[in-house]
Symmetry: C2
Subunit: 147 residues, 2 copies
Amino acid sequence: MERDAEPLASRLGYLLKHAQLKLNQAGGRALAPFGVDGHELAVLVVLTTGEPLSQVEAARQLGVDRTTMVALVDGLEERGLVERHRSPQDRRRNIVELTETGRSCLRQAEQARLEVERRFLAPLGEAEADRFVRSLQTLLSAPDAEE
Amino acid sequence: MERDAEPLASRLGYLLKHAQLKLNQAGGRALAPFGVDGHELAVLVVLTTGEPLSQVEAARQLGVDRTTMVALVDGLEERGLVERHRSPQDRRRNIVELTETGRSCLRQAEQARLEVERRFLAPLGEAEADRFVRSLQTLLSAPDAEE
DNA sequence: TATTGTTATACTCTATAACTATA
DNA sequence: TATAGTTATAGAGTATAACAATA
């Protein structure tokens, strides 16, 4: 699917969409050997930072619905990367924890992701790449414009 | 759907995805009065820059499939924004052209889009916003990394 | 044979509604 | 009553395959 697209190169929506597409394609190729995609890798990350999390808590951190989290955890559990444990304190909650396989996968896949990002940003040079990432963080932390 | 997401703020994929989401939401609100969304507006734009285009040509410029373009043009035609004309030179091709209504819609919606982008980038300040957009263009024009 | 537009179909991603169990 | 997990379902959005008309 070729693109040609001169009149679109100045449109922010187009630029963001295709930047994301390009990064996702590179990320997909790089993560494939580890059997996870970027979304699943993000799940593993939030599960290992801080307190053990239930499915709803992990879902909230990732900004997805809890029903979406069910399918995500299903997939990760089938591949032996995570395990569900009923919380003894509140038997409604499923605490999701990484297995040793999951931790090993996380370490390797995270390294691959870092390398993909580094290569993706390489055309900017180091200083400009830093500035670019900080700009994205600034844009996301700004409150939504109303009116 | 709340987000919490400290450990994700350093991930480029997360940042790009949510920047795009945020811009799309603002864009959706701003374009709603004109009865088009960002994708349809992009179609109108490519149809009015340069030569009159057939459906495949417009599709190629936007990076979508020609079957996707059928549905897009269907919607725009139903609302009286574009018209299909069989090309006399090559009767397989549908030349798609804007109606007067379509041109008026395009003018107004493009102004709204510019305003949305300006407001979205405002937290960066003018110089940094320019740099940010140029960085995106640089990233997209770079060849895909292989290996 | 190849291309354009079209339709039917399928696939991915995600959300909503309703159910069960627990609190 | 409210919450966590689950299931079934539905809705975007987009692609693939097959077909008719045309080149």
